[in-house]
């Protein structure tokens, strides 16, 4: 069902794209992800670049090194440089709210990715962290038959995207599968090597661990390495989040059970198109943030084949 929705959405987008291509005025659009060097943010960037290639846009990416303070600095700078629009992945909702407000007050539309800020702005293109977490919760619950032990590999405390995912996941278990026990939740700092360490300790403590949910794919891949090394990969269902290319391959190989796949190219493209439409006047800014949900797709061994090669990032 979800997949159908997303397909529909893609079609709609490609129709809109033709309209935006007419624009001839030169625009400067800035892109501030939390960190430039991540599969997800790279995919967003490529998606957006593809859209902007068709029009006269300077698209400049900035690296915030995972720090909200740096993002605020960059926002200020882009405002001062007179950028026409900004695509932002806030490291934290509260921390970026003031900056986004400032930009909007200067007439610079800000389109946020995934994490929304607290005050109204142009748009939020989101893969719905919380909803996707919920989806994975349901999938895991379903596959365990409503009973078993689950561990969570967390993001650093305070990282909002990770928190939203985990919250959604916990909500699903609490609501539909109260018999599933969450036996541990540990932070692996978004990275693989820490995830291996954390997973190892999960495996030590829980001799009957049934499933693991890692709030991003990197950590899921790390968990897989640890489980495989301990010879327990077959007994444990590992779920990731994002759906990066390497994870999809691992799903095909049967090592990772599944991930909440989002077409990040598409998501970046959507944000880019929205920005162009605002700039060319095709769309008017509303009083409230327009929330565009790019629905997640639960990629598992059975469904992963449906994701086309060109949609893998």
């Amino acid at each position: 069902m979800n997949r159908a929705k997303s397909m529909l959405f893609s079609v709609a987008l490609s129709v809109m794209a033709t309209g935006a291509a007419q624009a001839q005025t030169a625009y400067k659009i800035g892109y501030i992800p939390t960190s430039i060097g991540q599969a997800l943010t790279q995919a967003w960037r490529s998606g957006a670049e593809k859209v902007f290639k068709e029009s006269n846009v300077t698209f400049q990416a900035y690296d915030a090194n995972m720090k909200a303070e740096t993002q605020v600095t960059l926002m200020d700078d882009l405002i001062n440089q007179g950028y026409n629009a900004i695509i932002l992945q806030p490291a934290d909702a509260a921390a970026l709210t003031a900056s986004v407000k400032k930009a909007e007050a200067k007439g610079i539309p800000v389109i946020t990715l995934n994490t929304d800020t607290l005050l109204p702005h142009a748009a939020n293109v989101t893969m719905d962290d919380s909803g996707s977490g919920y989806l994975i919760g349901e999938k895991i619950g379903e596959s365990l038959g409503g009973k078993g032990n689950v561990a969570i590999i967390q993001s650093p405390p305070g990282a909002q995207a990770g928190i939203d995912r985990e919250k959604g996941f916990r909500a699903a278990l609490a609501k539909s599968y109260p018999n599933i026990k969450i036996v541990g939740a540990q932070n692996a700092l978004w990275v693989k090597d820490k995830a291996i360490e954390v997973m190892n300790s999960f495996l030590q403590v829980n001799k009957d661990l049934d499933a693991v949910f890692a709030v991003n794919d990197n950590m899921a891949e790390g968990a897989t390495i640890a489980a495989e090394s301990a010879g327990r990969l077959g007994q444990i269902k590992i779920w990731g989040f994002n759906g990066q290319k390497s994870t999809l391959t691992l799903i095909e190989q049967g090592k990772i059970t599944g991930t909440a796949y989002t077409n990040a190219f598409n998501q970046g493209g959507t944000a880019a198109k929205y920005a162009m439409e605002l700039l060319t006047g095709v769309k008017k800014k509303g009083a409230k943030t327009e929330i565009i949900v790019v629905p997640p797709f639960a990629a598992t061994k059975d469904t992963v084949a449906q994701i086309k090669a060109e949609d893998r990032w």
Binding site: I36, G37, G184, I196, S201, Q204
Partner: protein
């Protein structure tokens, strides 16, 4: 072998007792702690830090510091992958070239520190910044998944006799580095340069050359760690190992090496790394929130340092009553 430094041995042993105490505490706290499996896992997880320590220790021994090790590791993984999977080189050759680039990086650090007389802290801190940029540039900012070749990937994960290869590698490097430091001409020269550069120079040691080699060794072991990390995580990524430099320095200092130079203990650094590994592992096993990890590590650093200064708990309390006499050396000049 009779030329054994008993003082150093005692220091190492003292650390060893702290380590045993920590292990005892943790095994009381969690029944999962004291299992072969778990201990192997801890060793496995401290491998990267441990490998970096074996070389990075030479910087403080000669009176410097190397803050760039983590970034060198990330860069090494990226370069190795580039050579293997883009340039289609044999994996062994790729590793050799990567280590060669490590030598170059260390050489640059060493040259700027010695010949241009810039403090090592600043040199390696700046190196950390620009090497990160180079790593991003070479990898195009991507998280590259390394799928090939199998032999390369085996370095990080494969086991021999139930023990992961990186542990053997770490053990090998620890032994190698220990021998280098304690039983070779170069080791003596490093210690001499750190203890008194002028005296060393007048005794025929070339301080600049010694320092440059120290930074090269540091960069090479960092590269080895980077290769192991790339293989273990099957990933070449500029943000790999972020922040490891502080863990490395922590381990080295807990191990009894002074940042002022002139002494050092590779075994101590390994114990330091394992100690930090145990704390993290113990807290993980107990499912404590990750916020407790840095606190516990910080406290262990302070306790280990104070004990290295030769202060016992009763002595400490006694001194608190008579604060006019501080422990440790008399004047720190």
């Amino acid at each position: 072998m009779k030329a054994f430094n008993w003082r150093q041995l005692l220091l190492d042993l003292r650390l060893f007792w702290i380590l045993l105490l920590l292990m005892a505490l943790l095994s009381v706290a969690s029944d999962r702690f004291l299992t072969i499996d778990n201990l192997t896992n801890v060793l496995w997880s401290v491998c990267l830090i441990g490998i970096m320590c074996t070389g990075a220790i030479y910087a403080p021994i000669t009176g410097g510091i190397d803050l760039s090790v983590a970034t060198i590791a990330a860069l090494a993984g990226i370069i190795a992958n580039l050579l293997m999977n883009v340039c289609d080189l044999n994996w062994l050759l790729a590793i050799a070239i990567t280590l060669g680039i490590g030598v170059l990086i260390g050489w640059v650090n060493g040259i700027v520190t010695t010949k241009f007389n810039v403090p090592a802290f600043i040199v390696t801190m700046a190196a950390k910044t620009y090497l990160f940029g180079i790593a991003m540039l070479v990898s195009n900012g991507d998280q590259i998944t390394i799928m090939q070749p199998k032999a390369f990937l085996a370095i990080g994960i494969d086991k021999y006799l139930g023990i992961p290869i990186p542990i053997y590698l770490m053990a090998l490097l620890v032994v190698f580095s220990h021998l280098l430091l304690k039983h070779t001409v170069f080791g003596r020269q490093c210690i001499a340069v750190g203890a008194n550069e002028v005296a060393a120079k007048l005794s025929g040691v070339n301080p600049d050359r010694t320092r440059i080699i120290a930074y090269i060794i540091s960069a090479v072991t960092a590269s080895i760690a980077g290769i192991v990390m790339a293989s273990l995580t099957q990933q070449a990524y500029a943000m790999n190992a972020t922040g490891y430099e502080f863990d490395v320095i922590t381990a080295i200092v807990i191990g009894g090496t002074s940042l002022m130079g002139g002494n050092g203990s590779v075994a101590g650094a390994l114990i330091g790394a394992v100690m930090v590994g145990f704390i993290n592992n113990g807290l993980n096993l107990l499912d404590m929130p990750s916020s407790y990890h840095p606190i516990a590590t910080g406290i262990v650093i302070l306790v280990a340092l104070i004990m290295n200064q030769g202060v016992s708990l009763p002595g400490f309390i006694k001194r608190l009553r008579r604060p006019d006499r501080a422990p440790g050396q008399t004047a720190s000049q």
